[in-house]
Amino acid sequence: MSGRSLLGLLAMLFLAGCAAQTGAPRLGDLPSGATLSLCSQVAPQGKWRFVHQIDFDRGDGHPSTLIGISVVDGEQVQLALTTIEGLTLFAARSRGSELEVIRAVAPFNGKTFAAGLLADVRLLLLPMAGSSLQGSVFHDGVQGCRLVGDSGAVVDILPRESGCWQINQYRDNVLRRLIRTRHCHLRHAYRLPEDMTLEALDTGYRLRLHLLEYKYFQP
């Protein structure tokens, strides 16, 4: 092999490696029963209410702290964002692709803000809604589950040995959303995290959620 050919081959291998770091991992066979069970525990089943302290960092060096009140019931999410002092800045409800904004105060009244926020809230609280299981993936040696949504978004649900979980969302084979959780406790078949972080890698903003209260509504 000539020196130029070898250099070209090395360049291709290097570029392929770079792409693999941002692209979705290779899809494997359907996950094991144990893995499926773990994956199903990252979404609350039934009706729940959560109250979170939310640190909202838009990447401008001025993070805001808000209170997030969310009610999840099946595929419906209702959300209200208030200041710590109680002023309601944003309120909306969403079921599937339907969205109704009830209240929005600047700077939360932007045209695309509501849809984007509800999409991220649904990813945090209902990661499997509107998606179908495609197979398994391996991440850091641990098997997880891959789902694909109607919009073509790929969601990898990755159980962690700590009992918590991570979610990677890809669009066009690029990692767009990264969700990490800490201090998880199994409650009513849901691995309820005390802390969640969502990073929007395409827009640069970050949400940190700390659980203040929760209520599970017995059916």
Partner: protein, 195 residues
Amino acid sequence: MAWRLLLMILLVLSPLMGRAAAGGQPVQITSVKARFLQEKQVPILAHPLRSEGRFVFQAPTSLRWEYTRPLHSVLLLHQGRIRSFIERDGHLEEKSHPGPGSMEVVLEQISDWLKGRFADNNLFRVDRSHDGLVILRPRDTTMQAIISRIELRPGARPGLIDTVTIFEGSDAWTRLTFSQAELNQPVAAGCFTKP
């Protein structure tokens, strides 16, 4: 806008705790301390969300507004400077804040409120019901989009207010219920400068 509105409300309410809202004899206020229970009601909640805290106000315009449950945060206003802190991972972190902006308008209002001149202000229109309820309605249209009115319920003890309810339209409100109020007591050094 929202944080400025909030600060206005807190600064207006704090000295009102020491006012005879039912129209009694004016009280010379140097300081007000009290605990509060905050209830927040929005349509998606079956029962209001509860928070607890305490505040200290010292004339003319120093304020400490502190939440203790379910999270810990402190808002300090002193000598025209605003600082706010939120607890994360077990310690208080200072949040960056925009400059005072329209605070000068609020500070002018405070001195009028302390002298009992409720009607002479350009922030709120003031009405009183027959049972002594004081109702404040914002004059500014921008503020009206956020809150529709504030109701002050005087307490049994002359000079103090039992509750303040901030209405955001017809189906969302925040209610502050005050207790253990103390008027004109000494204030600890550093109360308005250290979280």
